[in-house]
């Protein structure tokens, strides 16, 4: 009997338990109401019949499922143990490595993953394996079904008018709600723990100081065995990330985003605004892989031709400028909507006061609204920067792999995210400093984006308090 059929069987039993407990509760309820209000000897039902049904269903499903989950983890060890006690296993080598290899081959054949094993010793173990597996899965199924029946019977006997089924069921519901919200904490802890753990392993190969302040990045040479000294200096990566994400992209996004927000909030008629704002938001909804393709295929060759026309030396077709420009366009809606919000939350009295003094709309915007909204705008820009430096696909597709420390926007630079992708795809040898370096880079990225977000939210919050 496989896991899926037991699963459905238990769910079916749960449904039966729900129906029968509910029916019993309904009968009790009608009996108590027939007795009439005059005769209060039989108490009214404490909980609605549905709650009795849920109580029974929970008792059927929960213990059996819990057991199944535990059993699925315990069973392989039990099966292996039984196989090892089989006479056919007496000839196995004692060395754990080769023994494990033979056992896993036999397991693979027994589970239908392969037709026949290469090793004859493994072939001899296939039958005992199948037998043990059948035995234990059947045993597990029987215990699970017994648990389901026992739970259902226990719950069914407790269906009485004064039984507080609702409170019990609601306690389970509250437990489920709390568990669901704890997943967020677990994920955060998981991210921090996995990044920290792998980074610590990386730093056992490479000095953190060399990593953070070294200026030579060539993990390939380290992987080829030229030693990992001075091959993992991440400064060119940090510079490339800042150059593309925080400088070029922002040079595009801040003026365009800010001016768009100003025009939309102060000048555009409501009808035009209703059309233009969604169009801007579409820019944020386009998948980054599309932007990356567009940058690599359309923008980058144009940029190179432009650079060649200007006579700029070592113009690359994987220029920082192409990636940065497209990333800037992607960021426009973020800057624009943050600026929109903060301009809209400047008190109307300030705007009216400025206009009443005879200032034109543009003077009001430049000298009253924007300065008043500045903290919100700055917060939005910081959020946009954190978004830009964590962006991956545009730079993977349009920026280069050469770790250059250069100010020339037409040259090729590489970024943290590009290198993470580069290090982790291709031949995987998980314990090498080369792959672990990706986690160290990820840790830096995580910490920096987190800090940017915290600072941005602080700035925005402090500013809001000033006007409310």
């Amino acid at each position: 009997m496989n896991a899926v059929s037991i699963f459905t069987l238990i769910l079916g039993l749960g449904l039966i338990a729900w129906l029968s407990a509910r029916a019993k509760a309904m009968r009790l309820a009608s009996a108590s109401s027939e007795a009439g209000p005059a005769a209060h000897r039989r108490p009214l039902l404490h909980s609605l019949p549905g709650f009795h049904g849920w109580y029974a269903a929970l008792w059927v499903v929960a213990p059996a499922m819990l057991f199944m989950a535990v059993w699925a983890n315990v069973m392989p060890a039990l099966v292996t143990d039984r196989v090892l006690h089989d006479p056919a296993a007496a000839t196995l080598p004692l060395d754990p490595m080769s023994r494990g290899a033979i056992l896993s081959e036999a397991r693979n054949v027994a589970q239908g993953g392969a037709q026949v094993a290469f090793d004859p010793r493994a072939n001899a173990l296939v039958e005992p394996y199948r037998a043990a597996q059948r035995l234990y899965s059947l045993g597990g199924a029987i215990v699970a079904l017994m648990l389901a029946f026992a739970g259902g019977a226990y719950a069914f006997t407790r269906v009485r008018p004064d039984f507080r089924a609702r409170n019990k069921v609601e306690r389970v519901v509250m437990g489920a709600l709390l568990t669901a919200s704890l997943i967020a904490i677990i994920t955060t802890v998981g991210i921090v723990a996995s990044l920290l753990w792998e980074s610590l392993r990386f730093f056992s190969f490479v000095n953190p100081f060399d990593f953070l302040f070294g200026t030579k990045w060539s993990p390939q040479s380290a992987a080829l065995g030229y030693g990992s000294d001075n091959a993992f200096g991440a400064v060119p990566l940090f510079w490339g990330t800042i150059f593309i994400g925080a400088i070029i992209a922002m040079v595009v996004a801040i003026p365009l985003g800010l001016m768009s927000a100003v025009y939309l909030t102060q000048y555009a008629k409501p009808r035009a605004r209703a059309w233009l704002k969604p169009i801007l938001e579409v820019l944020a909804g386009v998948p980054t892989v599309v932007y990356g393709y567009f940058a690599a295929l359309t923008i980058a060759p144009n940029m190179r031709d432009f650079a060649v026309m200007l006579g700029i030396p070592n113009a690359s077709s994987e220029s920082a400028l192409a990636a940065g420009l497209v990333m800037g366009v992607m960021i426009i809606p973020f800057v624009s909507s943050m600026a929109d919000d903060s301009i809209a939350s400047v008190p109307q009295a300030m705007r009216d006061g400025s206009l009443a003094m005879g200032a034109t709309t543009s003077e009001t915007i430049r000298q009253v609204l924007v300065p008043a909204a500045l903290p919100g705008v700055v917060g939005g820009v910081l959020l946009a920067v954190s978004r830009a430096i964590g962006e991956t696909m545009i730079v993977v597709m349009a920026a280069g792999l050469a770790a250059n420390l250069t100010l020339n926007p037409f040259a090729s630079v590489t970024t943290v995210t590009t290198q993470i992708v580069q290090l982790l795809t291709g031949d995987q040898e998980f314990d090498s400093p080369k792959t672990l370096a990706a986690f160290a880079l990820g840790l830096v990225l995580f910490v920096v984006t987190l800090l940017l977000n915290i600072v941005a939210l602080r700035v925005v919050k402090r500013y809001r308090e000033a006007y409310e």
Binding site: V173, M259, Y263, L280, P287, T360, G390, E391, G442
Partner: protein, 424 residues
């Protein structure tokens, strides 16, 4: 309040608003106003123009990807050196019977007869089309049939006036004989990844996306909604709930590639789940989507007026009944809108899936959530890396499909918002 009002300076003449200097100044201020306004309009037009440029260039490149060039080929099946009984094709082991035939040599021979030295312009995978035609209609085996076989990628490009001189010359030559024509490339929607641009399709990647999104939705929607309900309705104000809130807000801002690193370290290297599988992709994206759903859900729940809760409590509902019978149904349209937007984001996500190995070359659609799979954006990324020029239009065509889906999802979200949103 009692500050002395400064008396107007007696020697100062009133401003001459009509004077030339003042008029000039006002004109300058007004033109600055116009300049500023134009600047704002320019910013919007530039942003929208970029979007238009992107979409038009994708459409321009991509629409050609939905068509292909076909060469009409006469194949004389009765005299061909194949031993295949049509009856066996209707029996259960038809696939085995089909596999026993050397379709490639059959096709090559027919191409030699039909095209002579131009047979090099037939797609290397044209034999697959011959085999499928026989499988579809075994009766062709008894007659001389004319099949439309795909032309090679070079000839296809030449047909779209983008090929090499040699191919364009060959196309002109073949065009004169009337053997070549353009047709809708249905196999682009039904085939999977391949090495030859004429035979690739998006169905495999699309199915992978569907499976991945199903896993993501099944995990992130219930967890996200339950977490939102807890935080908004029940959570006591203490350090724990503050921590939950902070971590949800931070998770929403964590770069997506970090989730990929988490998936790699936890799901693949610690839990040993199958690599490249839709299950792992779905799990990773679910962690990413959940905060979005929680935040949207909390806003929707917050928008339900307290009077509803008070009324339900007043007639004796328990707190759980209040939430599940009244608050949740009223907040559901808002939650759905947020969920669809979160799912649209997950559908377009590439970077975390590269981390967990979904970039492998997979030539058949996945059968289940534990089979190796790829997804639509990753397929786009893989094709964009191909050297062969024929992949350019396929990449753009796949992008069109992806954008169409995202547009559809966002339209549904907007429709839901407009139809069900209630202002209390």
């Amino acid at each position: 309040m009692t500050a002395p009002v400064p008396s107007p300076q007696p020697d100062r003449a009133p401003t001459d608003w009509k004077g030339a200097a003042m008029q000039k100044r006002i004109a300058a201020r007004y033109s600055a106003e116009r300049r500023f306004r134009t600047l704002g309009l320019t910013a919007i037009v530039m942003s929208a123009g970029f979007l238009a440029y992107l979409l038009i260039s994708m459409l321009h490149d991509g629409l050609a990807g939905f068509t292909r060039t076909e060469i009409a080929m006469r194949i004389d099946f009765p005299t061909a050196p194949i031993v295949l009984d049509p009856a066996s094709l209707r029996s259960a082991n038809a696939d085995a019977a089909l596999a026993s035939v050397n379709w490639q040599s059959l096709t090559d021979q027919a191409a030699q007869e039909n095209l002579g030295k131009d047979s090099i312009w037939l797609a290397p995978s044209a034999w697959v089309a011959v085999r499928d035609a026989v499988k579809h209609d075994p009766s062709v085996l008894q007659k001389v049939a004319t099949l439309n076989l795909p032309a090679s990628a070079e000839l296809d490009l030449a047909a779209k006036s983008d090929g090499s001189d040699e191919a364009e010359a060959a196309y002109a030559r073949l065009d004169k004989t009337g053997l070549v024509h353009r047709a809708v490339n249905w196999s682009f929607l039904t085939a999977s990844d391949g090495t030859d641009p004429t035979q690739v399709g998006i169905w495999g990647a699309f199915k992978g996306s569907l499976l991945t999104m199903t896993v993501t939705l099944l995990l992130s929607f219930p967890i996200g909604v339950l977490a939102a309900l807890y935080l908004e309705e029940y959570a006591p104000r203490n350090r724990w709930t503050d921590m939950i809130e902070v971590s949800i807000n931070n998770l929403a801002a964590v770069p997506s590639i970090i989730f990929g690193l988490l998936g790699l370290a936890v799901f693949l290297n610690t839990l040993h789940l199958p690599r490249s599988a839709a299950l792992v992709g779905g799990l990773t994206l679910a962690l990413m989507t959940m905060p979005v759903i929680v935040i949207a859900g909390r806003n929707a729940i917050k928008a339900v007026p307290p009077s509803i809760r008070d009324a339900a409590l007043g007639i004796g509902a328990s707190p759980v009944q209040v939430v599940f019978h009244h608050v949740l149904p009223l907040a559901l349209p808002g939650i759905m809108t947020g969920t669809i937007i979160g799912m649209a984001r997950a559908l377009g996500e590439t970077a975390p899936l590269l981390m967990i190995g979904m970039r492998a070359f997979i030539a058949s659609p996945p059968g289940g959530i534990t089979d190796p799979a790829t997804v639509l954006p990753v397929q786009i990324f893989l094709w964009s890396d191909e050297v062969s020029k024929g992949f350019v239009e396929k990449t753009s065509a796949a992008i069109i499909v992806l954008l169409a889906f995202l547009l559809g999802m966002n339209s549904i979200a907007i429709y839901l918002r407009n139809k069900f949103e209630r202002r209390w």
